[in-house]
Amino acid sequence: MPFDLSLPAVQFPLIGNSIAVGIPSMLHIVLAGLSVAFLLWAPLFEWRGLSAAHFTALAYGVTKFTVLVFSVSTVLAVIMVELLIGLFPVTTMWIWNQFRAPIALASTAFLLQFAFLYPYYHYWEPIRRRSVRFHIILGLIAALLMLVWVAVLDGMGSYMLTPVSGETTWNNLWNPTWLSLALHRLIGEFVMAGYVIAAYGAWRLGRPDASERREYYLFLMKIGWIGGFGALLLQPLTGLIYASWIHQAAPDAYDQIVRGGYRLLAYLQFTLLALLMVGSYWLTKGTIPQDRLSGRLDVAIPGVAVLMIASVGHTAVRRALLYLLVVLILWALRPLFSNGGRRRLFTPPSLGPAMRPLALALGVLSILMYLTMGTIRETARRPYTVRNLISLQDEAEHSKASRASVKNRESVSLQTDTLE
């Protein structure tokens, strides 16, 4: 070797390695999470559009968003991956090596997805003129192919927390928390997507040019709220399933989440959840006919939410309060389950001055909650990067070892030269 290629481990200046990886990762998962949900919803909206025109416009809008942010989101993923390779090389090489076959499948699915998504968006009208059903099928296939990609990435993410020693790389995918994480994340994406659609509708309503499409923006608020809030009510259940699997496969990791050094994140998560639930209730108050129970519910719902936050460290109590909160909100919103109730939702008489800022705030809160969920999962592994297999210390040792091995080789070569 004419010269030594080894270098000390890269230390990202000012913010450190973890935050350097975290920033593009978070930006990426917000865009990617929204895109996944939108891609899954678009064909459903379009199908509903067969009977209500606004749904078709919404389907087009969310597909346009997906296509527009696609490159930015993918480049953020590239930046994230490059930072991972540079700053955490041992973990990155290891995990990709463990998932090489699923990655091949996921990449193929993603590439195929292009073949369906691009005609779906760029030839929207020409294809719909020939057959709306064929167009919907195109969107559905694109969405299903995207799900394959997402499922494999969830497999890698879950494996890092609950690794198994599978005989093949496919077995690694089938680790204890894979499916529960995939479900929890998918519903989390629906929560975020729904509230973001509602927030977008609320934002557009306040623009000077809103008068022409006021009805459509109100429709966005309504559909977004229904989608986001509906998914939010499912999250305690999917969260319970996920938490149970973590508890079963990695009890110490679960303890670390609720009682460890990063427990503040769990408090933050439940605070955001409580704010979303209470905020969603307040957003619909103008629609619900007031009765003698309303006043009591106005106090009980925030009260139970506060108690839930306070009991984060006590799992059983917190869960009971969370389900009580869900029941109370469902009880409060029961008038909406009738047809007349849904029709009144976000119609001008029930739309007070605080509704727009509240819908916007809920959009932001839903994004923050999605990010916090991801961060909690990452911190549950600390100090490991792949739990019980590779630690942050291994990353540091690897660099020293490679430098030492080069020095050893040089020294052996020098001794041989001297002997000769």
Binding site: M1, P2, F3, D4, L5, S6, L7, A9, V10, V67, L68, F70, S71, V72, T74, V75, L76, A77, V78, I79, V81, E82, L83, I85, G86, P89, V90, T92, M93, W94, W96, N97, Q98, R100, I103, S107, F110, L111, F114, Y118, N388, L389, I390, S391, D394, E397, H398
Partner: protein, 448 residues
């Protein structure tokens, strides 16, 4: 490194990486070229108040965002492949090139943001001020894509002519960096120009309205003008690049020029000649149709075309005949005296460039008002040969890009190197077959 062996031949990994890298390169080069062409053509359209330029810029904008989406995905695939198939090489190179590779991704992000904003705000930014902002966005995309390419050129050139990783400036300014970069800038314009011309040619063939057919015929010619013009500059830059390689890594130079991979360089020469000849034939078709009767170009073009065919044949001739695949079965001859570089090929390439330039000047002249070349009503329906010629040119340009990329990579790999002189292909062997147990041990198994 702590990896389970892949238990497959090294060749599989080489094929996977080559496929991922070459497909990535094809789209990546289009991004740089189309960002510059799109911005320049929109600027021209604004200055000349020409709707045709505006429409062409928009067409280029669409191809740019389509390429951006595709390339970002193919980039992820390439990184996946490198991590899985060549982890030792990739982790070593990545540590040395951490900042250039990271900056490349950041500039590419900038390109994506500018390009999408540029394309999707086309109708929204009205008025003179709005249009200027719009043009500025196009140039923003062009500058970002250029900087991203500069970063990648640092990495690519380093693999062929590496230097010690510290101090870092000698990594960046390694001996072939500047030459490779300039070569690729013009190479991108060649490929993009011809690829966009192909798009226009397809649209021309499919167009039903004569107005559309006329527009696409004109657009194809504009794109050919850019591609053909850049093509003429390539030999001078390529010569300097090879000269530098000869002084820095003579063994790699020998492999390409006289050694086992010289046939690949002959293939590049053949494709280059074909590009010049087919391009000139396309120009001749324009001249025949539209040049004024008294125009001297009617005399120049046929003569020029005849000279170019002869020069092209000479330029593509091999010197070491035995290096051509399968030829050893046909003849015992070792060398072909006509294929000698000096003086034959120098004369040939000079003729190709000189007469090619003459034809390019004629093509430029066809845009003048004295010619009827671009009137929309002139024999549009009957001319099917010109678009087919453009498609053939595009195919040759694509093959040239692929074979040139392969030539550069094989100059290292043929001698067994991943990073020239310092890291060999056999260093990657443990990734495929375990050399000893330690290589496949998990980190937690290693004693403290």
């Amino acid at each position: 490194m702590l990896l389970e062996p892949l238990e497959m031949p090294l060749l599989f990994g080489r094929i996977a990486i080559a496929t991922a890298a070459l497909s990535h390169t094809l789209f990546a080069t289009i991004i740089v070229g189309s960002a510059f062409m799109g911005a320049a053509i929109e600027t021209l359209g604004y200055v000349r108040r020409s709707p045709a330029f505006e429409r062409l810029a928009r067409l280029i904008g669409f191809s740019l965002i389509f390429s951006t989406a595709t390339i970002s995905f193919l980039g992820v695939i390439l990184v996946f492949c490198l991590n899985i198939f060549w982890p030792h090489f990739w982790s070593t190179l990545f540590r040395i090139m951490f900042w250039p590779i990271l900056l490349e991704a950041v500039f590419f992000l900038g390109e994506a943001v500018f390009a999408y904003s540029w394309y999707y705000s086309w109708n929204r930014l009205g008025g003179s001020q709005g249009k200027r902002w719009h043009i500025a966005m196009g140039w923003g995309a062009a500058v970002c894509s250029y900087l991203a390419m500069l970063m990648i050129d640092i990495v690519a050139s380093y693999m062929l002519t590496p230097r010690a990783p510290e101090p870092f400036w000698q990594v960046i300014f390694n001996p072939t960096m500047a030459y490779l970069h300039v070569h690729r800038v013009f190479g991108n314009l060649v490929w993009t120009g011809f690829a966009l011309a192909c798009l226009c040619a397809v649209a021309w063939l499919r167009a039903r309205a004569s107005l559309d057919a006329g527009f696409y015929r004109w657009s194809a010619a504009v794109c050919v003008l850019v591609g053909f013009g850049s093509l003429l500059i390539m030999p001078a830059i390529g010569y300097q690049y090879l000269l530098q390689l000869r002084y820095t890594e003579p063994q790699a130079f020998h492999v390409l020029m006289l050694g086992g991979r010289s046939w690949l360089f002959n293939l590049v020469a053949l494709l280059y000649s074909l590009l010049i000849v087919l391009g000139s034939w396309y120009i001749w078709r324009i001249v025949r149709r539209a040049a004024p009767p008294e125009s001297v170009s009617r005399l120049i073009l046929p003569c020029s075309l005849a000279v170019l065919v002869g020069a092209g044949v000479l330029f593509a001739m091999p010197y070491h005949v035995q290096h051509l695949p399968l030829v050893a079965d046909l003849t015992d001859a070792v060398v072909n005296p006509l294929g000698k570089m000096q003086p034959h090929k120098y004369f040939a390439i000079s003729a190709l460039v000189f007469f090619g330039l003459t034809n390019w000047i004629v093509l430029s002249g066809s845009f003048s008002r004295h010619w009827a070349a671009w009137r929309y009503d002139t024999d549009l329906a009957s001319d099917r040969t010109s678009p087919v010629l453009i498609l053939a040119i595009g195919l040759c340009a694509m093959l040239t890009m692929l074979s040139m990329g392969w030539a550069r990579e094989t100059a290292r790999a043929y001698n067994g190197y991943l990073i020239y002189g310092v890291m060999t292909l056999t260093d990657e062997q443990p990734t495929y077959q375990p050399a000893d147990r330690a290589l496949s041990a998990r980190p937690s198994d290693t004693p403290p």
